[in-house]
């Protein structure tokens, strides 16, 4: 990836924004179990940070995806994985399909206020009985005049309690599972839509995750994104951005974890010397830093190809897989070197350990990433 002055300047704005507007409040938000998405998004919208690649006609800046990767990486300096994930949902998970395939009406009503930071968006794909197996979702939308009537339940929805609308994957016909789905935008105040209690989680505590229930929810058919039946394909394409974002946004967390650990291990003495002086420790940290740089290179390569208009499903899945594996390795190893201090809750490393664990689950599990990679390598068992 070639970094221009503009990439560097964007990095600086996002880094400073994260350091000043998010990081200082991290502890408070973690305790509260939620963070003020509307307030943060409005500030980010004012800086044009929520529509980097989006259509300029609706307030976006229309840049290529390399700027989004820089944005995601720089966001790491905010040091609050919950807020970073929630921002990613807004910019790279719930809205790419609206931008690429949405009608003028959808873009005006939903995309433009998401870019300006007036609306909080959420992506509702997973269900209680369908996570990895997206094709098996049960939520359905039946036509009724000019409307759809939606029934079903979504699960694990990030931003759910604050969202102004949901980008929902539903079944709109009885066709085969890959051709019966559509993405529909559903405003959160539509009668029949209700959001359940926040789910208590081991990490990402400042992010509100909740189930969403649809009980005869009536929305105009005009709120469907793109063609009927194209939802599965659109969602699969939207996953490329999601996975690139998720990977890039963890790089700084890992880097900080290694840096903080070096600092701690330098100060901490045992057996008459700093614990960093033990080869087993400084070699291990060097190894992790090397892996991190390799992941960064893979992320940039995937981004380059994506910018060139290539399908990067395999590379993005590899990056996402590796980031899930690596953040677990980095945080686990680093935590170990903090000894008892690592086992306390108010410690940046232990927070990354808890938050980072999601990376192997959310946005597609490690196993699903492996399955996708195998499909591209053509190594899955032949039926």
């Amino acid at each position: 990836m070639k970094f221009t002055d503009e990439h560097h300047a964007l990095y600086k704005t996002v880094k400073e924004f994260g350091e000043n507007e998010i990081k200082p409040f991290s502890e408070e938000w973690e305790k509260a179990g939620i963070y003020p998405a509307h307030e943060i998004f409005k500030k980010m919208g004012d800086l044009d940070l929520l529509g980097i690649t989006k259509d300029p006609k609706y307030g976006g800046t229309g840049l290529d995806y390399s700027f989004s990767v820089v944005f995601a990486e720089a966001l790491g300096h905010a040091c609050n994985a919950s807020a970073i994930m929630s921002i990613g949902v807004q910019t790279d998970m719930a809205t790419p399909a609206l931008d690429k395939y949405g009608s003028d009406l959808i873009k005006k009503e939903f995309l433009a206020p998401s870019i300006s930071g007036d609306y909080v968006a959420a992506l509702a794909v997973s269900e209680p009985n369908s996570g990895s197996d997206v094709a098996s979702i049960k939520t359905s939308a039946k036509k009724d005049g000019d409307d759809y009537i939606i029934n079903g339940q979504k699960m694990w929805i990030t931003n759910a309690t604050q969202a102004d609308y949901f980008c929902v994957l539903v079944n709109t016909s009885n066709d085969s599972v890959h051709h019966n789905k559509s993405l529909i935008v559903v405003p959160s105040n539509t009668p029949g839509l209700s959001v359940g209690d926040k789910i208590d989680k081991i990490g990402m505590r400042a992010s509100d995750t909740a189930p969403v229930y649809f009980d005869n929810v009536r929305v105009p058919q005009a709120y469907r994104i793109g063609e009927e039946g194209a939802g599965f394909t659109m969602q699969m394409k939207q996953f490329q951005e999601e996975r690139l974002f998720l990977t890039a946004s963890t790089l700084i967390a890992m880097e900080n974890c290694i840096k903080d650990t070096i600092e701690y291990c330098t100060e901490r003495k045992a057996f008459g010397k700093s614990i960093l002086d033990n080869q087993v420790i400084h070699f291990r940290l060097a190894e992790l830093q090397t892996e991190l740089e390799a992941l960064r290179a893979l992320t940039y390569k995937a981004c380059d190809r994506f910018v060139d208009g290539k399908d990067v499903t395999m590379l993005a899945s590899m990056a996402k897989l590796k980031s899930g594996r690596l953040i677990r390795e980095v945080t686990d190893s680093c935590l170990q070197y903090w000894g008892g201090m690592g086992f306390t809750t108010e410690n940046p490393v232990s927070q990354q350990y808890r938050d980072g664990r999601l990376q192997s689950i959310g946005g597609g599990t490690d196993e699903i990433m492996l399955q996708i990679i195998c499909k591209h390598m053509d190594t899955l068992p032949k039926k």
């Binding site: 600086k12 940070l49 980097i52």
Partner: protein
């Protein structure tokens, strides 16, 4: 209203600073240059004045130095909302404030700025003279340490920070040169559209030569030596106390 904001690229606090082989300057090749802190406040104040007046005022960022160190600084100013930039290119490491002020004045004279804002001081050299000297050389009224500004009836009122929590309001006629204290406002972040638009704004490059007769030179730049010495006081208690008192009174002079 035409406002110039002087902005300087200084080594960032995060850079590791090494003295170069001449022992009169630092090794710039390993340093990351950033905008001098108080200059950011000066720029923000200028932008807020422009926005408040809302009468087509112009904010111009002005810097001097080498291309490599300053390009980011000018772009940052343009991205934040300055209308254009003036870059006085000069690779010289001469740090004499009078020579620098003269070069600025010569090149800014024809612009006829109503206001020149500068930061209170540059965080690298800290001489705090450039703004005042330029004001004098261009026949402007001057004030330093501004912590509030108010434009009224064709004049600018400046609240100045004095010692020990004292303040002073002064009213200056235009043209005026004012140095701005850090903390006066909340500098904005450059927006993405501002960043992308910066390259389309006018940036004038002037080849500038500093005087070859500087009134001030660096003779030797050095890192303060830290020496640790432990003095052991031995003897009976009375002897130790007497010796300790002597050291505290006469050597360290912390008691009298």
């Amino acid at each position: 209203m035409k406002i110039a904001v002087l902005t300087k690229a200084i080594p960032s606090y995060e850079s590791s600073i090494r003295i170069d082989s001449s022992s009169t300057w630092i090794d710039e090749s390993v340093v990351n240059f950033v905008v001098n802190e108080s200059d950011s406040y000066a720029l923000e104040e200028a932008l807020q004045i422009k926005e408040k007046l809302d009468n087509g005022s112009e904010v111009v960022v002005v810097t001097m130095g080498s291309q490599d160190n300053t390009s980011k600084v000018l772009k940052d100013g343009l991205a934040k909302g300055a209308d254009r930039a003036i870059f006085i290119q000069n690779e010289d490491s001469n740090t004499d404030p009078l020579s620098i002020a003269k070069l600025f004045s010569q090149n800014l004279k024809d612009e006829n700025f109503d206001l020149v804002f500068s930061g209170l001081q540059s965080d690298d050299l800290g001489s705090g003279q450039t703004g005042v000297l330029i004001g004098e050389l261009l026949g402007m009224s001057t004030a330093t340490l501004g912590i509030e500004t108010d434009i009224q009836d064709g004049k600018i009122k400046i609240k100045r920070e004095l010692e020990s929590g004292w303040f002073q309001w002064v009213t200056l006629p235009f043209p005026a040169s004012v140095s701005i204290q850090s903390g006066i406002n909340e500098p904005r972040y450059p927006s993405l559209k501002g960043i992308m638009g910066a390259k389309r704004k006018e940036s004038k490059v002037i080849d500038g030569q500093l005087s070859d007769d500087p009134k001030q030179n660096f003779i030797n730049l050095f890192v303060p030596k830290t020496e640790k010495a432990t003095e052991k006081i031995e003897g009976d208690v009375d002897g130790i106390v007497a010796k300790l008192m002597d050291i505290l009174k006469n050597k360290l002079r912390v008691i009298s």
